[in-house]
């Protein structure tokens, strides 16, 4: 059974059940009490009426059942209300723990972010997985546990009066809450996974088609355009229709079994409780009390059915494991003592299928030097930056800062390196907070000064909230060039001696690009810079240019010298400049 397989090595669901035990037990107890009150309400009402129908001389005789009827009538909604609060509270508490754990695990795994093949929004997926776990608790685990407890309690209660009848009812309930749900999950599991995968295909397809609609419109192939997704939509609908039909029939089946239970109760009460009026007064009570139970029992199958969705999340989370830190003994390097970076004959590849291969790459960069790295996309320029940072390790060769191997200075790496990439990440908080992340000890004045140096002062001061402007999701409040400048201000505060620039101007128009490069090289003039770029705009700012291709370094040298001595470089440069 895939249940048990999934849970066997699980560390994301099981351990948390033990967390906040008191709260969890309270929530489950309240859930149980809700169902109990619902049944008890009908029980006492039935009894009250039956008893009253015997015309007792004294009204006080039905006073207690009346009181209880009222109490249960109030108890049910109150318990239900409390149960919902407590269960949500428990789940949200666990969520906070799960989130912290996911964060810490990812944080410890440096390579997680650098594996180039991790495409798609893995972070979005993981954060959704955590919300799936919330639903697993609220929609599947809690209702199931409550219905099981109820089944057991009801069977035992009956068993006390009549063991064989108790056992018989237990069997019927067992079918309702265990066998049918299990059967439905085994039938629906494959179908649900299939639907999920077709649906994600459809997402990609539709996104592509909508993005390519210009081309389709021009081509005049309207029918073909509509046909593109029709096959997948049809498959999805067919499968969904099967699921729906199954669900309808299953629910009908569950009701039939429930009808059987009611009939059994009717017969049982007639056979065993009609010996005297005192007993007979309980007949309606017992029979009516089972009707509300269907509300607790029938939905269990529905909860089980959602299992495949949760399974994927649980399995994905369980693949993320903390990576043991096997760094050598760490050495503290004073940023002021930084002299040079040497990349010594390194070779690196992710695996044999990957197009990225770095062979015998060597560079030496002295303090204050500016180096530009060019080459076609996918050749491994970003990989070289990751190697220099120490996020990846070369298979051969060594990268060192002064005499220290790069792996020895990982602990306080932020004192040595700053990184600015294509899409710098801005947190959805104020400008001030975003920039101050560079160095939390800086005063407001210093943060403002940094923003002034990167040329944002006029813009920011024209905003209604000024420095407290919220930057929006992924910095969406600001344009691409402005986002780069904000990130640059952050780096200025960080004040590390080496700055790695990973195509920070790609996708910007040439005027914005020029302005930005001017600012970069102006404010970072004392720093050592390694700059990955895809064309020659602003190349005059650097001391040394390196062109990589898939085999080796194609050409390198100072831009001025290359321009004079290398025909290919000259052609490229002139093309870039539009001559």
């Amino acid at each position: 059974m895939n249940f048990f397989k999934t849970f066997k090595h699980d560390t994301w669901v099981k351990p948390y059940i033990k967390q906040y035990k008191g709260l969890l037990i309270t929530a489950l107890l309240l859930g149980l009490l809700t169902s109990f009150c619902a049944a008890a309400l009908m029980f006492t009402s039935g009894y009250t009426i039956d008893k009253a129908a015997t015309h007792p001389i004294n009204i006080l005789l039905i006073y207690i059942p009346i009181l209880m009827t009222r109490a249960f009538g109030i108890g049910r909604p109150v318990f239900k209300y409390l149960e919902r609060l407590k269960s949500h509270n428990w789940v949200l508490r666990v969520t906070s723990d799960l989130r912290t754990r996911l964060y810490k695990t990812l944080e410890s795994d440096a390579s997680f972010f650098s594996e180039y093949h991790k495409t798609g929004d893995i972070m979005g997926l993981l954060s959704e997985d955590i919300s799936h776990l919330q639903n697993l608790y609220l929609r599947t685990i809690f209702p199931t546990v409550i219905s099981y407890l109820l089944t057991i309690i009801a069977s035992i209660a009956l068993g006390i009066f009549n063991p064989s009848f108790g056992f018989f009812v237990f069997l019927l309930l067992f079918i309702e809450v265990f066998l049918v749900p299990l059967f439905s999950v085994s039938i629906e599991s494959a179908r649900r996974s299939y639907q999920k995968s077709v649906k994600s295909d459809l997402y990609v397809q539709l996104t592509d088609n909508i993005m390519g609609v210009d081309d389709w419109v021009i081509s005049g192939r309207k029918d073909d355009f509509k046909k593109l997704t029709s096959q997948n939509i049809q498959n999805l609908n067919q499968s969904k229709n099967k699921s729906k039909a199954f669900r309808r029939n299953r629910d009908f089946g569950l009701q039939l079994i429930f009808a059987a239970i009611v009939i059994c109760f009717l017969i049982f009460t007639n056979l065993t409780m009609t010996n005297n009026q005192v007993q007979a007064n309980f007949v309606s009570a017992v029979v009516l009390a089972i009707f509300p139970l269907s509300d607790t029992i029938i939905p269990v199958s529905q909860g089980f059915e959602e299992w495949p969705q949760y399974r994927d999340s649980i399995e994905r989370l369980n693949t993320i494991k903390p990576i043991p830190n096997n760094l050598p003994k760490q050495v503290t390097l004073d940023p002021k003592d930084f002299e040079s970076i040497s990349v010594d004959n390194i070779t690196f590849e992710y695996d044999s299928n990957s197009p990225i291969l770095i062979k015998n790459f060597t560079q030496k960069i002295k303090k204050g030097e500016k180096l530009a790295l060019l080459g076609p996309s996918g050749i491994g320029k970003t990989t070289i930056l990751q190697l220099i940072l120490g996020d990846l390790s070369p298979q051969q060769g060594q990268i060192s800062i002064n005499d220290l191997d790069i792996s020895q200075i990982q602990e306080n790496r932020e004192n040595i390196f700053s990184v600015l990439n294509q899409k710098p990440f801005l947190f959805n908080t104020t400008l001030m907070n975003n920039v101050r992340l560079g160095n939390e000890h800086k005063s407001d004045a210093e943060v403002k000064k940094a923003l002034e140096r990167v040329g944002l002062k006029p813009l920011i001061e024209s905003l209604p909230e000024k420095y407290d402007t919220i930057v929006g999701e992924n910095g969406s409040r600001f344009s691409g060039g402005e986002q780069e400048r904000i990130a640059l201000a952050r780096i200025l505060l960080q004040d590390a001696p080496i700055v790695l620039l990973d195509e920070p101007t790609v996708g910007l128009d040439p005027i914005t690009e020029n302005d930005l490069l001017e600012t970069f090289f102006d404010v970072l003039k004392d720093k050592t810079i390694i700059w990955v770029t895809h064309h020659l705009q602003g190349i005059t700012h650097v001391d040394h240019v390196v062109f990589m291709n898939s085999d080796a370094i194609e050409m390198e040298g100072s831009p001025e010298k290359l321009y004079q001595t290398n025909k290919h470089f000259k052609d490229l440069y002139q093309m870039d400049q539009g001559y």
Binding site: F113, I130, V283
Partner: protein, 577 residues
């Protein structure tokens, strides 16, 4: 509660009739189920033998089974209707995307349209499934039961009648209170709820800044703050369900007490009392069901509204004003006084105001300007993707209101900044404009685009599956596939380029130049670009600024003249070696 537009959908009226019939039947079997159960119970209470209850018990069982059978039928009919209707709406939506897609995408965004046509449709389907059944149940079952209860016991009937408006009143009051509370917290709330994802996505940055370890504590604090706020809101939000529950269960309790007192006073026998008690939960059930799914129906309703809004947008089909013609060296397009403004994504206003422009023969026309100057808007208007507010356009002496003309668009090849490759084989992608092209023709086009080398290393050659936006193929090869497409479409003599090399590295761009220049032969070329070297390939340059043509002329003439062109070029070049 129910949108009038629903009735316009095909089959809705018939569905409602069938459902009304079925629900009425259901109401009666519910009634019989209660009645025979009560009879059986009364007989047991009177201590009669098993034989006496067999007859009512069997009838009870039949009624119970019939009830759920009708329910099954009901669900089946509604699900079929919902499936079909939502599929129909999806079809309309896709058709709409095709007919006015380019305009719509610039207004709505791709993501929005995809969400509408997938998740939106699912929500709508669910909405259809819920709304009809629940509304029908609510309006038919309780009245039928109530009438019966009145015939059995008037006091109970009155009690049950009074409770319903009370329930609704309470729910409205509490619902409003919850809403205002939620609204007040909404902004903080979304920031908090997105905080975790934000932190995960920003984790590499935090790491670079050396803050990632300390930030873990923050994750917990914020998450806990979120929990606290959620609980605060929830406390009020679920009060309305509580009120419903409370009033209905209390209703049953009160009823039981009344009935008990009535029985003691000997005002009526056991049967009417019992049947009333049994039917009371059934009386409230439709109301509870409705309120349980209220939020789901609300989401569905909003999704449906959004889709109806998209569908109701005026859409201009491709015009057929333009008679067929052939584009050759003597052809010409003249446009005067072209004007329009629209709200682009992010509420940025885009406007275009062109006094006069002439495109003719096999000229090569470059369109340059800084970003936001209206380059793209202009070429998209010429491509017929954006419709001008007013314009005087003449294509080969024929007057047309806009460029969205079948006989204009089938002369065009469009090469955008990020190429579009659809899921399929390389051959199918190359034969995009001419799906019936022979393999020889495809090979010739591939050769011309310089793709021979690339195809040689692919084990499956032309049959290699690409797609999903061409993932796995480098930007340069994607552009070459687009070029092959254009080479093959030799009946289309107008090429429109929108910054085709903006994202490429310089060496890839350099290598692409040759096949592109070849493609320019025998074509009218309209080429929007930031990259200056292309200007040398152009016969004529249009300099855009602020949605207007700042300058136009041959490159040589513009170069000599110290105007917008020279200024722009100098700004773009920056410092030089």
């Amino acid at each position: 509660m129910i949108d009038k537009r629903l009735f316009r959908l095909p089959g809705t009226k018939k569905l409602l009739l069938v459902l009304a019939g079925l629900t009425l039947l259901q109401a009666f079997v519910v009634l019989f189920q209660g009645k025979y159960l009560a009879e059986a119970l009364v007989n047991s209470w009177e201590q009669k033998s098993l034989q006496t209850i067999i007859y009512p018990m069997v009838l009870f069982a039949i009624a119970f089974i019939l009830r759920h059978l009708f329910n099954l039928l009901n669900t089946k009919i509604v699900e079929n209707y919902a499936g079909k209707t939502s599929e129909n709406i999806r079809g309309q939506l896709l058709e709409k995307v095709y007919n006015s897609g380019p305009e719509m995408i610039s207004e709505e965004g791709t993501g929005n349209l995809v969400t509408s046509s997938l998740d939106g449709i699912d929500l709508v389907e669910n909405y259809f499934k819920l709304i009809f059944t629940k509304l029908m149940n609510m309006s038919i079952i309780p009245p039928v039961l109530l009438i019966y209860i009145y015939t059995q016991n008037i006091a109970s009937g009155i009690t049950l009648t009074i409770i319903v408006p009370l329930v609704i009143l309470f729910m409205i009051i509490l619902g409003l209170a919850a809403q205002s509370k939620a609204d007040a917290q909404y902004k903080q709330y979304t920031i908090l709820s997105n905080h975790f994802l934000d932190a995960l996505r920003g984790l590499p940055t935090l790491k670079m800044l050396g803050l990632s370890k300390r930030y873990a504590k923050n994750i917990y604090t914020v998450s806990d703050e979120y929990r606290r706020r959620t609980m605060n809101t929830l406390r009020i939000a679920i009060l309305s369900t509580f009120a419903l529950d409370w009033l209905t269960t209390l209703g049953i309790a009160i009823l039981a007490v009344f009935l008990g007192l009535g029985l003691i006073n000997n005002s009526f026998p056991l049967f009417p009392a019992l049947v009333t008690l049994i039917l009371a939960p059934e009386y409230f059930l439709p109301l509870r069901d409705f309120s349980n799914d209220y939020h789901a129906t609300l989401n569905g309703k909003n999704a449906l509204n959004a889709i109806f809004e998209l569908l109701d947008k005026p859409s201009d089909n491709k015009g057929s004003d333009l008679k067929d013609f052939t584009w050759d060296e003597d052809s010409q397009v003249e446009l005067n006084n072209l004007e329009f403004t629209y709200k682009g994504s992010g509420d940025k206003e885009v406007s275009l105001d062109i006094d006069h422009l002439k495109l003719s023969g096999y000229h090569r026309i470059g369109v340059i300007g800084k970003s936001g100057s209206g380059k793209t808007t202009l070429i998209r208007a010429i491509g017929g993707f954006l419709l001008p507010y007013s314009a005087d356009i003449k294509i080969n002496q024929q007057s047309v209101p806009n460029f969205k003309q079948t006989n204009w668009q089938n002369k065009l090849t469009f090469l955008p900044q990020s190429p579009y490759l659809f899921a399929g084989s390389i051959a199918e992608n190359i034969a995009f404009y001419r799906p019936d092209a022979s393999m020889d023709e495809i090979k010739k086009a591939t050769h011309a685009a310089g793709l021979d080398e690339f195809l040689k290393v692919l084990p499956e050659g032309f049959d290699t599956r690409i797609g999903e936006g061409g993932r796995g193929i480098s930007g340069g090869q994607q552009q070459r596939i687009m070029l092959a497409r254009a080479f093959l479409a030799d009946d289309r003599h107008i090429l429109i380029f929108d910054e085709p090399t903006a994202h490429l590295d310089i060496e890839t761009e350099y290598a692409l130049k040759k096949p592109m220049e070849q493609l320019f032969h025998d074509h009218l070329v309209i080429f929007a670009t930031h990259r200056l070297h292309w200007i040398n390939e152009m016969d004529y340059v249009i300099v855009m600024d602020n949605g207007q043509i700042a300058e136009q002329g041959t490159p040589d003439k513009l170069r000599d003249h110290n105007g917008a062109f020279s200024k722009l070029i100098n700004n773009m070049r920056g410092d030089q070696l």
